[in-house]
């Protein structure tokens, strides 16, 4: 009687344990085999951000913001990218596009910084502020901006003690002109013949 009970109990437990252990081993093997390095979605998000490194999103740069987006941060905090970036991100991540969050700034035309060189005193403060190293110059010597490197982030304007930095709007050329976006109604209304759009 006792041995019967034991075998009735022992075999099921042993079988389930063996089954669980073998699946565990298989999964452990698969986890090592299909290991992923880092998070590739971050790279894709980062590629869509404008790389101005301006910090207007309250993150120290575009890559940290990309990591935050993948972790669940909202996608509408990038004024330099504007609506186009938000739509691209929404497409990539399968989210609803949101209007730009005005708290972090508004979308502006592309600009480039310009130093009025005879007023510059050579304090190097703007060099330290520039996130992309687009300002050339040394202490007590006049500084200048490499226009092709400047992302127009505004960060050098604030530190300048003599206010000699202007943000100049980039002229539209054949290289940077793009079709204007069509006016978009808020809802595609093929199914709404009449009535209030929700």
């Amino acid at each position: 009687m006792g041995s019967e009970l034991l075998s009735n109990l022992l075999w099921p437990v042993a079988a389930l344990l063996a089954l669980g252990a073998s699946f565990g081993a298989l999964l452990g093997f698969a986890a090592v085999k299909f290991k992923t390095e880092g998070n590739p979605v971050v790279d894709q998000v980062n590629a869509l951000l404008p790389q101005t490194q301006c910090g207007q999103c309250s993150y120290p740069g575009c890559r940290p913001y990309a990591e935050a987006i993948v972790a669940g941060e909202s996608i509408n905090k990038c004024p330099p990218g504007g609506e186009a970036t938000i739509h691209a991100l929404a497409d990539l991540l399968n989210l609803e596009p949101l209007p730009l969050d005005a708290e972090h700034g508004i979308e502006q035309a592309n600009t480039v910084a310009y130093i009025r060189e005879d007023e510059c005193i050579g304090c190097t403060k703007c060099i330290q502020a520039c996130p992309v190293d687009a300002i050339l110059g040394a202490a007590k010597l006049m500084h200048t901006i490499i226009a092709s490197e400047c992302t127009g982030c505004d960060l050098c304007v604030e530190p300048c003690p003599v206010d000699c930095i202007d943000m100049i709007e980039l002229p539209t050329t054949l290289q940077n002109w793009s079709w204007p976006l069509p006016h978009q109604p808020s809802i595609i209304a093929t199914d709404k013949l009449h009535g209030n759009a929700v």
Binding site: A15, L19, L27, A30, T36, L93, H194
Partner: protein, 192 residues
């Protein structure tokens, strides 16, 4: 032989559709049917899991449980098999398509609790299917699930823009629509 397999497929996809006729797997049917792309990803993941899980549970039943006279343990061991297969699928998807992994989110591990998966495994035993038939039955069930899920998600995309009376908005109109396609699928009864 071929006719037999074709009729088995037709029966699982249309006549005994797991979602609309047998009412199994309703949670992903309502949960991931908001967008067609997501629905397609979910269908593929579920198809993979269903086929693999029905094969694995057949092997587990006939080579472990039957020799040990432990047939009564089939439900719990099938759940174990399914959980392992789903975990494996998740690892695979994370490697192959990180975006799909992100979009499916919590619904991917929730395939474990998709009753259609366990249902197929248990029905395979009840109907005394062979190994090949089990795989085929699982695949047919997955195909039916995919068909219904994609059809329904396309409908829900239209519904999102439609002029629905306020009290029926959102899930309510989704449920009504699901009921109507279910009625339509009842029309396939007697086809095979």
């Amino acid at each position: 032989m071929i006719a037999e397999f074709a009729s088995l497929l037709l029966a699982t996809v249309l006549v005994n559709n797991f979602v609309l006729v047998q009412f199994l797997g309703l949670c992903p049917f309502m949960g991931v049917s908001n967008k067609v792309e997501t629905a397609m990803g979910m269908s593929m993941a579920t198809a993979f899991v269903l086929t693999l899980a029905s094969g694995c549970s057949y092997l587990t039943y006939h080579f472990i449980l039957v020799p040990l006279n432990l047939e009564y343990l089939r439900t719990i061991s099938f759940i174990l098999v399914i959980a392992a297969v789903v975990q494996f699928t998740e690892l695979l998807i994370r490697k192959a398509s990180p975006l799909l992994h992100r979009v499916l989110g919590v619904f991917l591990p929730l395939i474990t609790t998709n009753c259609a998966v366990l249902g197929v495994a248990l029905l395979n035993i009840n109907k005394a299917h062979t190994f090949i038939e089990s795989l085929w039955y699982g695949f047919g069930a997955a195909l039916g699930f995919a068909l219904v899920l994609i059809l329904f998600s396309a409908m829900r995309e239209r519904l999102a823009a439609a002029d629905v009376p306020p009290i029926f908005e959102g899930p309510a109109i989704g449920m009504i629509a699901a009921g109507l396609i279910s009625l339509a699928f009842m029309g396939f009864a007697g086809l095979v």
